[in-house]
Structures are given as C-alpha cells and as structure tokens.
C-alpha cells in the first residue's frame, strides 16, 4: 500500500469515529455548542502540535493563505451543514447531497492543479461518491 493511501485511510477512520461521537454530543447539547467545543479541542490539539512543530519564516504566501483558508472553509462548511439541517432539510437528503463535495475537489484539482486520473481511478472516484451517498441514507429503525 502506498504511504499516502495509508494516511488517507487513517483520516477516514478518525473522521468516521467522529460521526458517532458527534451524534452522542448533539444528543445532549445544541449543535452550536457542540461545534464550539469541537473548535476548542482543535485549539488544544494545536497547542500540543506547537510543541513538536513551529512554522518557520519564509513560507510562501500562497501556502500560508491556503492553509488558513482551509480552516475557514472547513469550519464554515460544518456550520452551513448544521444550518441546512436546521432549515428543514431532511437529514438523509442533506447529508447525501453534501457527500457530493469530493466531486468539486476532483474538478478543481483537475482544472487548477492539472491532476489527471486513470480510467480506473475515475471509476473509483465515482463509486466512492455513490458509496458515501448510500452510506449516508438512514438505516432501518433500531431493534427494540
């Protein structure tokens, strides 16, 4: 397995666990308060990260701006997803629709970064998006 794939799968596992912990959190408190404490945890983690890594001078502006923009875009995306759910959208439809976001990343990466996918990888990307949508649909009710 390529190293990058191993890390991508690791990210998938961590984020997958957050799907459960986030649900346990919003079962008890509002999504806004939950999001706020999610952010505080990010700050705490960054404080620990600061012990092992320090941003050095001479970073390219585009890199710094992209990185900071990443936090803003991802955070805002989480916030707009909460708003979508609170605005009356059915969870199964909203989450399935939102699952289409990698499609945009693929498109932007092809256009702006000149990335090219093989036919098999293109099929894989399409299957991944279809799988994410199917997985987001609500399952049958819990057994009593």
């Amino acid at each position: 397995m390529q190293l990058w794939l191993g890390f991508a799968v690791l990210a998938l596992v961590f984020w997958g666990i957050t799907g459960v912990t986030q649900k346990l959190s919003t079962n008890a408190i509002s999504s806004e308060r939950s999001f706020l404490w999610f952010c505080w945890a990010m700050v705490a983690l960054s404080a620990v990260v600061l012990l092992v890594a320090r941003p050095h001078a001479g970073l390219a502006t585009i890199v710094v701006v992209s990185s900071i923009a990443g936090g803003a875009l991802n955070g805002l995306g989480a916030w707009t997803s909460f708003r979508a759910l609170e605005s009356g959208g059915k969870a199964s439809i909203v989450i399935s629709l939102i699952s289409l976001y990698p499609l945009l990343t693929v498109l932007l990466a092809v256009i702006f970064l000149g990335e090219r996918l093989t036919w098999l990888q293109t099929a894989g990307a399409c299957l991944a998006i279809a799988a994410a949508i199917l997985l987001s649909l609500e399952g049958p009710p819990k057994e009593a």
């Binding site: 596992v13 957050t18 705490a44 600061l50 991802n74 009356g88 976001y101 894989g124 199917l134 649909l137």
Partner: protein, 157 residues
C-alpha cells in the same frame, strides 16, 4: 426554512429552499477545502498546516461562541457535561484526522484521489453505530459499504 403551506396556497416562492442553498454552500466550501489543502501541503508539513488551519477556524469560533452566548439553550448540567465531553473528543479525533489527511497530501496523494477516499468516512461511522449504538444497517447501506471497499481499491491503482 420549513414550508408549511397547504396545496391550495395560490402563490409559491420561486426561491430555492434554504436547506438546499445551505447544502450547496457546504459542497462549495468543503470541495474547495480539498483544493487549498493540497496547495498548502506542497509548502508546509502536516503539523504546520494544522496550526494554520486552526488560525483560519478562529473567526468562526468567535462568531459561534457569540451565538451560543446569545441563545444559550437550556440544558441540564449533566447533559451539558456529557455533550461537551463528546464534542471535545470529536474535535481531538477530527484534528487527528486532519493531520492524517494533510500527511496523505504531503506524501504525494493527489487531491482528486485523497478527497474521495477520505469522504468514505461514513463507512466507519455506520459500522461503529451498528456495534456501539445498536443501529441496524439497511440493504442500501450494506451496498454502500461494499462499494466503498471497491472504490478504495480502484483509487489506489
């Protein structure tokens, strides 16, 4: 915005539903995040990327903090303690996921492949929900799970 109009309502808004607009905004924001993360990963390591990411999160955090303070929903102290614990854990795990995501990009993963692979995280969620929350998987979700494994295999080629 929920529409509670009856079928006999003579005029119907031509504006798209608010939930649809918020959903589309989410796609644009998260879709673009994948792109900028790759651009950033070409110049910084995963740790510095996570630090700068948190800087980008700060203004939104201030805004959400203000709305929480203004609206302050009534929650019992026990529920609040429990909810905050899980939210904090979500943030730690989410941040670790970010580090792994950035590292995948630093190690040469293309944004156009890493984004679809990591977007498969609901496969872990549904499996854990089945084991720990006793939720049942429908046929559609089992198909989704199978497709997810095939997708990862194809994307790794």
């Amino acid at each position: 915005m929920t529409t509670t109009e009856t079928p006999s309502t003579p005029t119907k808004s031509r504006l798209p539903a608010a939930w649809l607009l918020w959903s589309l905004a989410t796609i644009v924001l998260w879709g673009t995040w994948g792109l900028v993360s790759k651009v950033a990963s070409d110049g910084v390591d995963a740790y510095v990327n996570q630090l700068l990411y948190t800087v980008g999160l700060a203004p939104l955090m201030a805004f959400v903090g203000w709305t929480v303070w203004k609206r302050s929903p009534k929650e019992s102290p026990t529920a609040r303690k429990r909810g905050v614990f899980w939210a904090f854990l979500t943030g730690i795990l989410g941040g670790l996921g970010n580090l792994a995501f950035f590292e995948a990009l630093v190690k040469g993963g293309k944004a156009s492949i890493v984004a679809p692979v990591t977007a498969l995280f609901p496969m872990v969620t549904v499996l854990l929900a089945m084991i720990f929350l006793k939720e049942r998987l429908g046929r559609v979700q089992w198909i989704g799970l199978a497709l997810a494994f095939v997708a990862i295999y194809l994307l790794s080629m």
